[in-house]
């Protein structure tokens, strides 16, 4: 995308789709990195939400680009699932903390072997 075209687009008060996608990718990678590197379950959980929202962003960007409504629909679905997941996930985290007195993800490994 050449700078002249970008400048033209910005002049009309719109952000180019590629920028949204780039932001989405950055957010997603931050989410992945946090998921892999952090040990606190709450943080890991937040990273998952971050990844979901990164994907949502790219859905919206594409929907706007192609002038189609499907992307919005997907986003709503993802948000509903994420809400449900948050409810269940936080409940699980609470229970785990009560039983094990820890939130360190590396110590919860009873499925091993």
């Amino acid at each position: 995308m050449d700078p002249a075209q970008v400048a033209e687009t910005l002049k009309h008060g719109a952000v180019p789709t590629a920028w949204y996608l780039a932001l989405s990718a950055v957010l997603f990678v931050i989410g992945v990195a946090g998921f892999i590197l952090r040990r606190n379950i709450i943080t890991v959980f937040m990273c998952i939400e971050l990844m979901l929202n990164a994907v949502n962003l790219s859905f919206i960007a594409f929907a706007h680009e192609h002038k189609q409504v499907a992307g919005h629909l997907f986003t709503f679905f993802v948000m509903v699932v994420a809400a449900a997941e948050a409810a269940v996930g936080l409940a699980i985290i609470l229970t785990v903390f009560r039983n094990r007195s820890t939130l360190n993800i590396d110590e919860i490994e009873s499925l091993k072997n």
Partner: protein
């Protein structure tokens, strides 16, 4: 029509009723079904089929359905009755009825009563099928079926290891013979394109001699298996493990004569293969002598009669081999009378001595079991060829025919006749004369056992006068013309029999130390004969052991345990090994799972990027 199908079907119904319902039926009902069905088929044969005049020149023939149809080759379920079949039918159903009646008394105290009679009826069904068959395949069905029943009944006391082993032995040795018979049938199909008796025997005179000889020799292999001839006779003495009525019916009177019947039925083929005829005669003669010598040394009363059966079957084959088919069939019939009587008498003796079979523990029974003594004397006279008895006529017919064929065969036959008289009368003297040497008090058998014995005794004595088989069969097998030496030959064979009886009387009644002295003097030779020439041991060493060794070393340890088990177990242990490596991935560490997912996604994206991706 004469409803020929009724003849085998009646015993088969008896088998079904007793086999399926027998456990719940009272003994009386089992007896009624078992004896009644056989008696009914005997009466059907004797009163309905027998008197018809139709089966003279053109025989009774009935086609029921086509069993196999393949191109031009057809095999139907066909029965036919000619005079030869008629004689066999009368023997099988007649003697079968008597033995069924006897068995109701003999088996009274045995377990598995209904099972015994179900098997016996099944045997009758297959045997009647065998003799009624109008083609080789139906004959073969009966042939295999009687083998099965023989196996089942030898192993009737299945809790006894020796009985089951004997059953297996009979079955396996017969397989060797049946292989020969099956090969003969294949050759017949190739040569004649049919298995029906009529076309085969019509075309046989025009066929090449080599093919006919091959067919005849292969048939002889089959006959030698079923009729216990050298080298396949080994199963018959062991078959005495079965109940005594079975020994009488199957292993003396009927089934073992199937080989002789088959050879006589195929007379046309044999007559056009002179080399095969010589082999038949030689094998018959060799078996007759060989088994007679073993019979002399045995002490088990049933074993004596078993070797006697082998020896007498040898006689029949000698008759067939020298071309005297009707003499062979005649001897088959008279032998059925007196050998069934000998076995049933032996059963009565064993019954009297509380299950004892060793003649050294018998003796003096003429006082305790007079009727058994009398009927056994009749049978022993008949088998010794005493003038006027049934055995005299048939044996003389065979020996005369042998003399015409080759005088030396006659002389060997005469010596065998002497030995036969000797060992049978040896058994008689040891059982009935002297003092009782066994345990308990011997007793006479019940009337239901004695009555069939008396009928058989009459037939043993008068069977030669009543049924002149060569005369009956003269349409099929032309009568031999009289030869000038005939009366001299007759005198010689009678003399041999009388000398045998006299010698046994001298050795086992007058001078009882003599047999022991002779045995000692002969030393090794006696022990060799006493051990039945160690043929069983030789077969074990030459055939059975190598087979077991081979199958255990090659088939079991190499092929089964090595290759097959190795492959199956190898797959298992390989899967386990792979699993052991793969399970390391399942660390339980969520972050490592996530890493794998990311790595996997990256790989997929890279691959799709290289491959061109989704458009």
């Amino acid at each position: 029509m004469f409803k020929l199908w009724l003849i085998p079907l009646l015993p088969f119904l008896g088998f079904l009723i007793n086999g399926i319902l027998g456990k719940k039926l009272p003994k009386l009902a089992i007896n009624a079904v078992a004896v009644g069905s056989v008696l009914a088929s005997f009466l059907w044969v004797a009163l309905v089929v027998g008197p018809s005049s139709d089966w003279g020149a053109n025989k009774l023939h009935a086609h029921y359905f086509t069993w196999i149809a393949s191109g031009n080759f057809h095999v139907g379920w066909d029965f036919a009755v000619d005079k030869l079949t008629m004689i066999m039918l009368m023997i099988v159903t007649g003697i079968g009825t008597l033995i069924h009646i006897y068995a109701t008394g003999y088996m009274d105290h045995e377990g598995g009563y209904y099972r015994f009679f179900a098997y016996l009826n099944l045997f009758m069904f297959f045997m009647l099928n065998l003799v009624l068959a109008a083609n080789y395949l139906i004959l073969f069905v009966g042939w295999e079926g009687v083998g099965l029943c023989s196996y089942l009944l030898i192993g009737f006391y299945f809790h006894k290891k020796s009985a089951t082993t004997a059953g297996n032995k009979a079955f396996i040795v017969n397989r060797v013979g049946d292989f020969g018979f099956a090969m003969a049938m294949f050759l017949i199909v190739i040569q004649f394109g049919s298995l029906d008796f009529t076309p085969v025997f019509t075309k046989a005179p025009g066929a090449p001699v080599e093919t006919l000889t091959a067919i005849a020799l292969l048939m002889l292999v089959g006959a030698a298996g079923k009729s216990a001839q050298i080298p396949l006779y080994v199963w018959l003495p062991d078959a005495m493990e079965g109940p005594t009525p079975v020994s009488a019916l199957i292993h003396a009177a009927t089934m073992v004569t199937a080989g002789v019947y088959m050879c006589s039925r195929s007379a046309v083929i044999f007559l056009h293969a002179p080399a095969a005829m010589d082999v038949v005669a030689l094998i018959g003669l060799a078996t007759a002598v060989f088994a007679a010598t073993i019979g002399i040394t045995q002490y088990d009363i049933k074993k004596v009669f078993a070797y006697s059966t082998v020896s007498q079957l040898g006689y029949m084959f000698l008759g067939v081999g020298v071309g005297a088919f009707s003499a062979g069939i005649w001897h088959l019939m008279t032998h059925a009378f007196f050998k069934a009587l000998l076995f049933l008498g032996a059963g009565s003796v064993i019954h009297a001595c509380h299950g004892e079979q060793d003649m050294r523990h018998m003796g003096g029974l003429k006082k305790y079991a007079p009727w058994t003594c009398i009927v056994l004397a009749c049978a022993s006279l008949a088998i010794a060829g005493f003038p006027g008895t049934s055995g005299f006529f048939s044996k003389d017919a065979i020996l005369t025919a042998a003399y015409e064929h080759a005088p030396w065969m006659f002389w060997v036959g005469v010596v065998t006749a002497g030995m036969t008289a000797f060992y049978v009368w040896r058994a008689f003297w040891m059982t009935f004369w002297g003092e009782y040497r066994g345990h308990g008090k011997p007793h006479e058998s019940p009337m239901v056992m004695l009555a069939p014995l008396m009928v058989l005794a009459v037939l043993s004595l008068g069977g030669g006068f009543l049924f002149n088989v060569p005369e009956i069969l003269k349409d099929m097998f032309p009568l031999k013309e009289e030869i000038p030496e005939e009366h001299m030959l007759m005198a010689i064979s009678v003399a041999a029999g009388l000398i045998g009886i006299a010698m046994s009387w001298y050795m086992y009644v007058v001078n009882q130390e003599l047999p022991g002295k002779i045995a000692n003097a002969l030393g090794g030779l006696y022990r060799l004969v006493d051990d039945k020439y160690r043929i069983d041991e030789a077969y074990d060493a030459a055939i059975v052991e190598p087979l077991i060794e081979g199958s255990s070393a090659v088939l079991w340890k190499t092929v089964d345990a090595g290759i097959i088990d190795g492959a199956v177990n190898g797959v298992g242990s390989q899967a386990r090994g792979i699993g052991n490596v793969l399970k390391l991935i399942q660390s339980g560490n969520i972050r490592s799972y996530a890493t794998w997912i990311v790595a996997g996604s990256v790989v997929i994206i890279i691959v799709m990027g290289i491959a061109g991706g989704v458009r």
